[in-house]
């Protein structure tokens, strides 16, 4: 009896300490999530203005534009930039991203994959580990981006992808990441990065008589890479916020589950304790009765 009591007590203790960890992780994630959301908000004006500038210029150009980065050619070689987290314990977050990649490859680029023409670049360690293990061609990795999230580091990845596209190393580039909706929901998606979708001329855009310096075509050629850099940066920020959101929810669930386990254990502990007391009492009483008798 006493042995069982001790066992239950030990389990309670271990669950309590696990719960402490999950609670702390939840708190940390909540703080990090706030910062990640902040970063997204901070970036928005820049991204909007850049897009606005581009549509202003495009609307002022007569005829079609000839941009290398927007060139569509038959897709032989595909690149996927997969953004996952560096750390686990974030619920189904990483496996969902990987699932999205695999689904995208299976549905659209099966023939290219069979020929070994699907390349994967990873941002985030977890994706790299998993994709390498499942036999995909993983080349460059940018594993340390999340340690210290800086625009310059993300830019390097975007530029490498653009260079690959320009050198005909890849005919299409996709980013797979999870878009941040709120702490509990993420939307996993594969977004086309290159070739750039056609920029529509906006009716009623500012038709001011702009002075362009240098001329429009050069400006657009300069502007495009910046927009792509920002697009990838936004994806990384979104992924970062999603990761913390997913971890927060996962840890919240874990703490809740620990609570339930503790409740059940406490009941069985009290039962065992009561049973021990009852047996002891019966023993004393019957011992006393035997003496008197």
């Amino acid at each position: 009896m006493a042995g069982q009591l001790k066992e239950v007590r030990n389990r309670i203790k271990s669950i309590q300490s696990t719960q402490q960890i999950t609670k702390a992780m939840k708190m940390v994630s909540a703080a990090k999530l706030r910062r990640a959301q902040d970063a997204i908000v901070q970036m928005r004006p820049y991204a909007q203005k850049l897009q606005e500038m581009l549509s202003n210029i495009v609307s002022n150009v007569e005829g079609d534009l000839n941009i290398k980065l927007a060139e569509t050619r038959p897709v032989e070689k595909v690149l996927f930039i997969v953004i996952t987290s560096d750390r686990g314990l974030a619920g189904a977050y990483n496996s969902n991203v990987i699932k999205t990649v695999k689904a995208a490859i299976a549905s659209e680029y099966n023939t290219q994959f069979a020929k070994g023409n699907v390349t994967i670049w990873n941002i985030g360690k977890k994706g790299w580990e998993s994709m390498t293990k499942s036999g995909y061609k993983t080349e460059d990795t940018y594993k340390d981006i999340f340690l210290d999230l800086k625009f310059e580091k993300v830019q390097a990845a975007a530029q490498a992808a653009m260079k690959g596209f320009e050198n005909n190393q890849f005919d299409a580039v996709y980013i797979v990441y999870s878009e941040f909706k709120n702490a509990a929901t993420q939307q996993f998606k594969a977004e086309q990065f290159l070739p750039i979708p056609k920029v529509a001329k906006v009716e009623g855009a500012k038709k001011a008589d702009f002075i362009f310096e240098p001329e429009k075509e050069t400006l657009i050629a300069e502007l495009m890479p910046k927009i792509l850099n920002t697009q990838l940066y936004k994806a990384v920020l979104d992924a970062n916020a999603s990761e913390h959101g997913a971890r927060m929810t996962a840890m919240d669930k874990a703490s809740e589950n620990a609570n339930e386990l503790l409740k059940a254990l406490k009941i069985s502990y009290n039962r065992a304790r009561q049973a021990a007391i009852t047996t002891e009492l019966t023993e004393i009483v019957s011992g006393a009765a035997a003496l008197q008798g």
Binding site: Y46, M53, F151, I211, F212, L219, T230, Y233
Partner: protein, 84 residues
């Protein structure tokens, strides 16, 4: 005129200024009050923000763009830092 300096990481400057000096791709130029609409690419160099005629701050940039419209200048830059 109003000036806004934006980077992907944050809003670096926002407010009323007397003028701003920018490192254009083909040379340094200055935008003052009531400048004509302009879009220009910027090279590596220094942005000098003139709060008034004698009072200014410097920022170093790695390149970017400027748009001037309706007496408002928006500078989009990457890798900008304030220098004293």
């Amino acid at each position: 005129m109003t000036l806004e300096i934006l980077t992907p990481e944050k809003k670096l400057y926002s407010g009323e200024v007397y003028g701003v000096q920018l490192p254009g791709i083909s040379g340094l130029f200055e935008v003052l009050d009531k400048h004509a609409p302009l879009v220009s690419a910027l090279g590596k160099g220094r942005v000098k923000v003139l709060k008034d005629k004698n009072n200014f701050v410097h920022y170093s940039i790695n390149g970017g763009f400027v748009e001037v419209l309706n007496n408002k200048a928006t500078v989009l830059v990457e890798g900008a830092e304030a220098i004293d």
